[in-house]
């Protein structure tokens, strides 16, 4: 923190950090008081709430940690080089005013929260050994510049926004190789094919568990809120622990129907712990999220990165293409399949309505919303667009709208 302009006064930092920790503690306590709470969820809550207590997290993980913003940076590569991934994107409201002075007024709330966590002395910087940022939306493209004075080890991945073209794919493979080189340099070891293959297999088990979890959710055996907590934890910490605990939850909940009648598809901006405003409001309105396309939930580990060869190139290419092409992030220019996929899932899971959640300032989803509404309505689906931020001020009005929507889709 060398730049005095970026320096947050120590006293202010302490206040923000205390408030942030309180946010995590309050949310965790709230969740533990729920009637559908299971001790199995503790694993995920611990992982997520330790975000506010970096030292404890490090003690718990006891391995080098790589902070990252996006699932475009393949998790298997981190794992193969001994790093534990940790998604640095934040949704806390406490620190947003700290970052607000350095960002435009209508900046994305996630960017505000995330930046504030970097500005705190003992937050991300002390939690992660390095940071990897994929240039997804315009905000994330500017993020390395915002962190310029941060002085930490930051690797920026230039994301081609025309993903299906040959040149876009080649560019992305080059980026994946650069990421590998960066991680090899930082870890001081070479990535072996064997390790990468081993990581692929570890994540294959996680993919299967995620799939089973999402299916259990669509069968209404697992509440959408808890599902979101579990999926949130996937990009944080030890993947094998995550897999085994998800499997335990699925087993424990098997055959128990515990969700509201009305089902929707949740699309749009990411939802992340501890700010679970949207899933909580949906639940309050009697709506079950039976499927979603959030990059913090169902879109993580979309598909299966398969390669016919065992060569390093083939495995890295498989990872690059799987994470890149298999992703329906609206920041891509060529993303025609997204709407078809959403509607196919809705038909498959018997969902009649879609709720599009847009965080104010999250422009990619906002821009897509008009076409999405038109296409969905043309195909006979109900559509509700919610534009909000991470504060609780508009909760009542949102709840009213959601309750009305619930009545419509039922």
């Amino acid at each position: 923190m060398n730049n005095p302009l970026l320096k947050v006064p120590e006293a202010k930092q302490q206040v923000v950090m205390r408030k942030t920790r309180q946010e995590y503690i309050a949310q965790t306590a709230l969740l533990k008081r729920r009637g559908d709470y299971l001790p199995h969820y503790d694993y995920f809550l611990d992982i997520l709430s330790l975000r506010a207590e970096p030292e404890k997290f490090r003690q718990k993980i006891n391995r080098p940690v790589a902070a990252l913003n996006c699932l475009q940076a393949p998790l298997e590569i981190f794992d193969a080089l001994g790093f534990v991934p940790y998604r640095f994107c934040s949704s806390t409201v406490s620190g947003q005013d700290v970052a607000a002075s350095r960002l435009p007024a209508l900046a994305c709330p996630i960017i505000k929260s995330s930046l504030s966590s970097f500005l705190m002395g003992d937050s991300i910087e002390s939690l992660a050994d390095l940071t990897v940022i994929a240039g997804t939306c315009d905000w994330m493209v500017r993020f390395p510049e915002l962190l310029e004075a941060h002085g930490g080890k930051i690797h920026f991945m230039e994301l081609p926004h025309i993903k299906e073209s040959e040149r876009g794919r080649k560019r992305w493979i080059e980026e994946i190789y650069l990421l590998k080189d960066f991680l090899e340099k930082e870890s001081g070891r070479k990535m072996s094919r064997r390790n990468l293959r081993f990581s692929l297999e570890k994540y294959a088990a996680a993919r299967l568990a995620l799939r089973n979890l999402l299916e259990a959710r669509s069968r209404k055996e697992i509440p959408a809120l808890w599902c979101m907590i579990m999926t949130n934890a996937l990009m944080m910490g030890d993947v094998e622990g995550w897999t085994s605990n998800v499997n335990k939850v699925i087993q424990a909940q098997s055959g128990r129907l515990c969700c509201p009648e009305a089902s929707v598809f949740l699309a749009g901006s990411p939802v992340m712990f501890p700010n679970l405003k949207i899933p909580q409001l949906l639940e309050d309105a009697g709506i079950h999220v039976a499927a979603d396309e959030l990059c913090t939930s169902e879109r993580i580990l979309a598909g299966v990165p398969l390669a016919e060869d065992n060569s390093e190139y083939a495995l890295l290419k498989a990872l690059a293409e799987q994470y890149h092409l298999g992703c329906s992030c609206p920041t891509y220019a060529d993303n025609e399949r997204r709407l078809d996929n959403i509607m196919a899932i809705m038909r498959d899971r018997n969902i009649s309505g879609l709720v599009l959640h847009i965080l104010k300032g999250c422009h990619p989803y906002d821009i897509c919303s008009f076409k999405m509404e038109q296409v969905l309505r043309e195909n006979g689906f109900h559509f509700l667009r919610i534009e909000t931020d991470q504060s609780r001020e508009d909760s009542k009005s949102l709840l009213l709208r959601l309750e009305a929507f619930s009545a419509v889709i039922q």
């Binding site: 294959a204 299966v304 016919e308 293409e321 298999g326 399949r337 078809d340 996929n341």
Partner: protein, 315 residues
């Protein structure tokens, strides 16, 4: 047994049957839509390309013979080929063809050694597509020139003379004769030298690139003419495809159209070998499926793809 193992087992079985079956008295005729090489002594049946080129059943037949019983016999062999092609289509290529199986074995060796497959640009792949049609045209035209234009008889069976299967496949029957230059005359020197050069290029190519020969195979070009009316269908549910490109990456002949298709259901391209690797690798349930008429032969599933990724350990 997953489809990879099933295919490997059937390929081995068909390789053994077609290469050695003749020794046990098996005679499957001259109309097989696969590279069951007639130069393998003791083979069970013969690749139709030889019949198509030759002087009795094929293009080298004199005009006067076409409307006689000879012509009828040529027509019967052609009918046999058509029936077999309609019945199994590209399955001949991906599952039965002994030369295709050999290519898969060579590629498996490369994979075992951890050597990466050669990567071609999309333009390179597209530019090579017409070569198989050029080979097909040559094998149709040269016999006509022999029969009607006085071209020397030593050009007879032009494709067989160039085909890499001719020197390579008889090795499995213990014959090394065709790894030679035939110095009988200048034409035989030229043709056998060409055969050696092509065999070397294709064998090296097969090592570095999956199904390298199939990219140029005139029999594939011939079979693909009947894709539309064949019983084997390859379809895609474009609505559920997430566009992950597993199908393209896994495809041994780098077919892009299965991935890029966003409107049509039929995705059987002329280059497709029906190996079903794409459907096996597709992570979305029912997006890619192979059918025999209305019966589903294989359909993609997340479970199948994840099993493949986990090497069969995750069930």
């Amino acid at each position: 047994m997953n489809i990879t193992n099933l295919r490997a087992a059937l390929q081995l079985l068909f390789f053994a049957v077609l290469t050695y079956g003749g020794r046990a008295g098996l005679r499957l005729g001259h109309a097989l839509p696969c590279f069951s090489c007639p130069y393998v002594s003791g083979c069970a049946g013969q690749c139709y390309l030889m019949a198509l080129q030759n002087s009795f059943w094929g293009m080298e037949m004199p005009l006067a013979a076409i409307f006689t019983s000879r012509g009828l016999e040529a027509l019967l062999v052609l009918t046999g080929f058509l029936l077999l092609t309609l019945l199994l289509g590209k399955i001949w290529c991906g599952w039965i063809c002994p030369f295709g199986t050999l290519q898969d074995w060579i590629a498996a060796l490369r994979r075992k050694l951890g050597i990466r497959e050669s990567q071609w640009s999309w333009m390179q792949t597209d530019r090579l597509k017409p070569v198989k049609y050029a080979f097909l045209a040559l094998l149709l035209v040269i016999p006509l020139f022999i029969a009607h234009m006085g071209l020397h008889d030593d050009f007879t069976l032009p494709f067989c003379q160039m085909c890499p299967a001719k020197p390579v496949m008889p090795l499995f029957a213990g014959r090394t004769d065709y790894f030679s230059i035939d110095t009988t005359n200048s034409i035989t020197i030229f043709m056998t030298s060409l055969s050696m050069v092509l065999a070397a290029i294709f064998l090296v190519g097969m090592f570095f690139k999956d199904r390298f020969f199939c990219i140029f195979c005139p029999l594939l070009a011939l079979i693909s003419i009947f894709d539309r009316i064949g019983f084997v269908r390859f379809s895609k549910n474009v609505k559920t495809c997430i566009g992950c490109a597993n199908c393209q990456r896994i495809c041994p002949v780098d077919i892009r159209s299965v991935h890029t298709e966003t409107s049509k259901q039929n995705v059987m391209s002329p280059e497709c070998l029906a190996c079903m690797k794409c459907a096996e690798s597709c992570p979305t349930d029912g997006t890619l499926s192979f059918q025999w008429l209305r019966w589903t032969l294989f359909t993609s599933s997340f479970a199948g793809a994840i099993r493949k990724l986990a090497g069969g350990r995750s069930r």
